[in-house]
Structure formats: C-alpha cells, structure tokens
C-alpha cells in the first residue's frame, strides 16, 4: 500500500464523515432554512472530498480528468440548486422558526 492510497483512504473517510453530518443535520434541524444550510454545505463538502480521494487513487489519466470535471460541476451546481430552492421558499412565504430581522438593529 503506497502513500497515495493512504491519503486517498483518509480523504474518503473524511468525505463519508461529512456526508453523515449533513444527513443528520437534515433530519435534526428545526427549520427549512437551517436544513438548507446543512445539505448545501456539509453534503457538498463530503462529495468533493470523496471525489478528490478517488482522483488521488486513480492517478494521472483520462478518468482522473473526467472526475475533475464532475468535481467542478458538482461544486458549482449543488449550492446553486440549494440557493434557488431557499429563494423560492422565501418568496412563497415560508417563515423562519425563530424571529429574525432583515435590517441591522437600531442603536438606542
């Protein structure tokens, strides 16, 4: 087992950990917007870590270039899809659970 395989195993383990954290946040958080936070950041980070580990395991080849294309595409589109869904929910009128203000607080 070479050093690159050990680095790849470490990256894939880290990605599986972040995917698990995102999934648990998706069912445990109380609000729609906080669930967007969980699945838009942690899940994407886990996917990027797993694909990086696969690129390091593959080495320098055509498959590695295709995996790099998948990494760039998912890193761009997964937060964009979550943001579009959150904006649609905000315009639809989904209220946050806790009271938030959109303007900065007045100084008294």
């Amino acid at each position: 087992m070479t050093i690159w395989q050990i680095i790849s195993i470490f990256l894939i383990f880290a990605g599986a950990f972040f995917i698990t954290v995102g999934s648990i946040g998706l069912i445990r958080l109380p609000d729609f917007y906080s669930r967007c936070h969980a699945t838009g950041k942690a899940d994407t980070l886990g996917l990027l870590l797993v694909i990086s580990g696969l690129i390091i395991y593959e080495g320098f080849s055509l498959h590695s270039a295709k995996l790099l294309i998948i990494l760039a595409f998912v890193g761009l589109t997964s937060p964009t899809a979550t943001h579009a869904l959150a904006r649609a929910a905000f315009r639809f009128g989904v209220k946050p659970r806790f009271k938030t203000t959109l303007r900065p607080r007045e100084k008294s």
């Binding site: 395989q5 998706l26 694909i51 964009t80 904006r87 649609a88 929910a89 315009r91 009128g93």
Partner: protein, 89 residues
C-alpha cells in the same frame, strides 16, 4: 482497496435512509425536494464506488455525470415551479 470501496458503499447505502425520512415526513414540498436532492448527491458517490468495485469505471463515470446534470435540473425545475406559484398569488 476493493474491500474498502465495498465497505464505504455499504455504509453510504445505510446513510441514504436518513434523508429518506425527511422525504416521507417533510411538512412541505420544499423539505421533500431538499431531501430528494440530498439522496441524489449520495447516489452519485455510490455510483462511482460501484464503478470501482466492478472495474468498469470508464462506463460509470459518464453515468455519474449524467446523474449530476439530472439532479440539478430537477431541483431547479421544482424551484421555478414554486416561484411561479408565489408570483401568481
């Protein structure tokens, strides 16, 4: 190394059942669509690992790319639909 990929694939198959709860029991349409997107993200990793398990990664990489595009287009379509409903009322 193949045993490690098999192990991670089995683990991800178990983890996929956690967002499935949000898809079934979500209060609104948006929550269900968020859970469906999370399931699609995990399925992409699962397809890649299955390609490495069967030594057919040249075929499964293209399937993964197509699946990523389909997942993105699906979520964007539902978001546009919800925005159209919100604009109409």
């Amino acid at each position: 190394m193949h045993d490690f990929f098999t192990l991670v694939a089995v683990y991800l198959t178990i983890v996929i059942f956690i967002p499935l709860y949000r898809v079934i029991a979500g209060p609104r349409l948006m929550d269900r669509m968020l859970g469906a997107g999370a399931i699609g993200t995990k399925t992409m990793v699962l397809i890649l690992l299955i390609g490495y398990m069967f030594d057919r990664i040249d075929m499964f990489i293209d399937i993964t790319l197509a699946y990523a595009v389909l997942n993105f287009i699906g979520v964007i379509a539902i978001a546009k639909y919800i925005e159209r409903i919100a604009r109409k009322r």
